[in-house]
């Protein structure tokens, strides 16, 4: 196929993982015969059998705890949480075990598990189905967190997550599952996340936990990941009409943060705005802003802007367009980075 959707790309990545390494397994609620409520695991049980791809009882701690035990037996499990909001029942496993077991065991036990989580909002869901959990995961030690923004990125980053010897939380932007895109040639993709064969050679960092420049610009850097990257690209297009050249940086890895990549971009533009769906208070934007403030004090022409949610639960569907970071809000935040000196 010349084009693919993110759902197809993720499905292909999982299929290739299962085909390449017979120690990989997929487990979760409705991932087998049903192929996942978002069809990301569609056809995999049929192809790889019930031993490799299987449904569990409806218990998230059970799923993640079982995945930990599977690692102890030398497997490489890929577990699915059905929705972001249902990661919380598994949080004790994440915080008390996934984050600690390697250290607890003095390095004897590795946890090469991947936790896939359909994430974020914007699909008119009921309560609990639109959460941004990146802060809860990224504040935990020993856990890596990644979130793709396009189909080909999703393929490459999921392969990298599964190949990683450490636990990786993989946050899938559910509102982008059906986004379609020209497929990057297969060979360029495998391991692109880890090898960083992405679009921009200049963003290349040695170990692969690198961000990527989606669009270059000299005036201000928009920083986002997952579903918000597209929002930033839109805002950048609007800004360009007004003659403002916006660089859009897709973080990809939320933990570790690509400090060098962030600093390199913002050192050029001297202005930055972070955009996410999570509440502003202690959203990942706080970390990015604090970090840029530390590294680029004196270089920054304006405070790092943060576009995110107020201190309230994700609202009812009727309000989500207003709640989510709109291009208008992003443009306003960009505008502020130019007004700042006057203030």
């Amino acid at each position: 196929m010349a084009e693919w959707t993110m759902q197809e790309a993720l499905n292909a990545a999982l299929a290739d993982c299962l085909a390449d390494d017979d120690r990989t397994l997929i487990l979760g609620e409705d991932v087998g015969r049903n192929g996942g409520v978002f069809r990301v695991t569609a056809g995999l049980q049929e192809r790889f059998g019930e031993q490799r791809v299987f449904d569990t009882p409806l218990a998230e701690a059970g799923i993640l705890g079982t995945a930990v035990g599977l690692c102890m037996h030398g497997f490489r499990p890929i577990a699915e949480m059905q929705f972001d909001g249902f990661t919380f029942p598994a949080f004790n496993q994440l915080a008390a075990h996934v984050s600690k077991l390697r250290t607890r065991s003095g390095g004897a036990l590795n946890l090469p598990l991947t936790l896939r989580v359909p994430s974020y909002g914007a699909i008119r869901s009921p309560e609990h189905h639109s959460e941004s959990i990146e802060t809860f995961c990224a504040h935990l030690p020993s856990i890596k967190v990644v979130s793709p923004s396009t189909p080909s990125e999703a393929y490459a980053l999921l392969r990298a997550a599964v190949a990683d010897p450490d636990p990786v939380v993989f946050l899938e932007p559910k509102s982008r599952y059906w986004s379609r895109e020209e497929r990057v040639a297969g060979d360029d993709l495998v391991g692109a996340g880890a090898r960083q064969s992405g679009a921009d050679a200049d963003a290349e960092r040695g170990d692969g936990y690198a961000s990527r420049i989606v669009r270059s610009g000299s005036d201000v850097t928009l920083i986002a990941w997952g579903a918000c990257v597209q929002r930033c690209v839109q805002a950048a297009a609007f800004a360009a009409e007004d003659g403002v050249e916006v660089e859009v940086l897709d973080l990809r890895w939320l933990k570790p943060l690509d400090v060098d990549g962030l600093v390199a971009s913002v050192a050029r533009t001297r202005r930055a705005v972070v955009v996410h769906e999570a509440p502003v208070t202690l959203g990942l934007g706080a970390e990015v802003a604090a970090l840029l403030g530390e590294r680029l004090f004196g270089t920054l022409a304006a405070p790092v802007g943060r576009v995110g949610a107020p201190d309230m639960p994700y609202p009812v569907a009727a309000l989500e367009d207003e709640y989510l970071p709109s291009p208008d809000r992003i443009l306003l935040a960009i505008q502020r980075t130019f007004d700042a000196v006057a203030a």
């Binding site: 409806l58 249902f86 029942p89 009921p126 609990h128 201190d311 009812v316 309000l319």
Partner: protein
């Protein structure tokens, strides 16, 4: 304060009212499915086939004293407990989370989608009732799938240890989305778990509205009288999809569905009534007429349901909103206007 209800009489008049409630449920359920297809609702989890389990159990409660904790699928139970159809449509129109009603007044907890969690709220409420010396009970609904959650275990154990007036009502409807009950419930029975906590557990034909009504009434009676908690497992079947975005043909056989369609709980009650009432058809006609009127009102009212403003939704977050939060919210709203 309630007087203790004695176990129920299964009079025909009672069956008739349960039947009417089931029909009303089915009609509103089908209307909601249709409305979703038309784009008037964002999604809907049908309860088709589970009307007897829901209406029968809810009818055994007295919402003046007891408190019910529904999941997302309890349309029939909530209607029976006096929540209005429009209040129950609001969530599926994306206007409300828990339903557009006052949970404190109604003695019905808001609709909740994290399976399992509200079993513990029922335990806490029941503890409060016991501490206050009330003759009242909490009833928590949950599915065969939800029975796998750790919180349900903790709830049963707490209820046992504190001897609390809780009814754990499991609708074992064959499926948790695509996972069949036998791949979900180790040992095959949620009621059988009760013994492990020293609690009575009872299995009941969930498609027999009177049987559900009676089993629940017994458990409610026991709870209100200080006899502690009961686990009831009502065997029924989710005839429809998990929700309007689910396609059951991916994971289950049409034959199984057909077998259960032939055991439709509403058909069964109708046949019983035909056997015991001379003027059954007149009653049915009256019921259908009332339902028609109600559905007309629902359709008319749906468009009038208001979305909250963002400012209103923000206010819900705190009973006492801090000044700093209020200021940040105001700035955020202002940005929405400026942006």
């Amino acid at each position: 304060m309630s007087t203790i209800e004695s176990p129920p009489v299964t009079a025909t008049s009672e069956l008739l009212s349960l039947y009417a409630q089931m029909r009303r449920t089915r009609a509103l359920n089908d209307e909601a499915i249709a409305l979703q297809r038309q784009g008037a609702l964002t999604g809907f989890p049908p309860c088709t086939g589970q009307e007897a389990a829901q209406v029968g159990s809810a009818a055994a409660l007295d919402p003046a004293v007891d408190f019910a904790f529904p999941t997302y699928r309890e349309l029939g139970a909530m209607l029976t407990l006096g929540i209005t159809p429009l209040a129950l449509m609001a969530p599926h129109r994306g206007l409300s989370f828990g339903g557009a009603f006052d949970a404190r007044e109604a003695h019905v907890a808001p609709i909740n989608a994290v399976v399992g969690g509200t079993a513990l709220h029922a335990v806490g409420w029941a503890m409060g009732a016991k501490l206050d010396g009330e003759e009242a009970c909490a009833l928590t609904y949950f599915g065969d799938g939800a029975s796998s959650q750790g919180e349900v275990h903790e709830a049963m154990n707490f209820a046992a240890i504190f001897e609390l007036p809780v009814v754990f009502l499991c609708q074992s409807n064959g499926w948790a989305i695509s996972t069949p009950t036998e791949r979900q419930v180790g040992g095959g029975s949620v009621a059988a778990r009760a013994a492990g906590y020293g609690l009575p557990g009872e299995q009941v034909d969930g498609n027999d509205v009177l049987a559900v009504r009676d089993a629940t009434a017994r458990a409610v009676h026991r709870a209100r009288c200080g006899g502690g908690a009961t686990v009831i497992e009502a065997f029924t079947y989710r005839l429809g999809p998990h929700s309007t975005s689910d396609d059951p043909s991916r994971y289950r056989d049409r034959a199984e569905e057909e077998a259960w369609e032939s055991r439709d709980p509403i058909d069964r009650a109708r046949e019983q009534l035909r056997g015991s009432l001379d003027d059954a058809e007149d009653h049915f006609a009256r019921i259908e007429h009332e339902i028609t009127l109600e559905l007309d009102a629902v359709r008319a009212g749906l468009g009038l349901l208001q979305a909250p403003t963002m400012r209103e939704q923000m206010e819900l977050a705190y009973a006492r909103m801090p000044a700093a939060t209020r200021a940040a919210n105001a700035a955020w709203l202002q940005d929405g206007i400026d942006g």
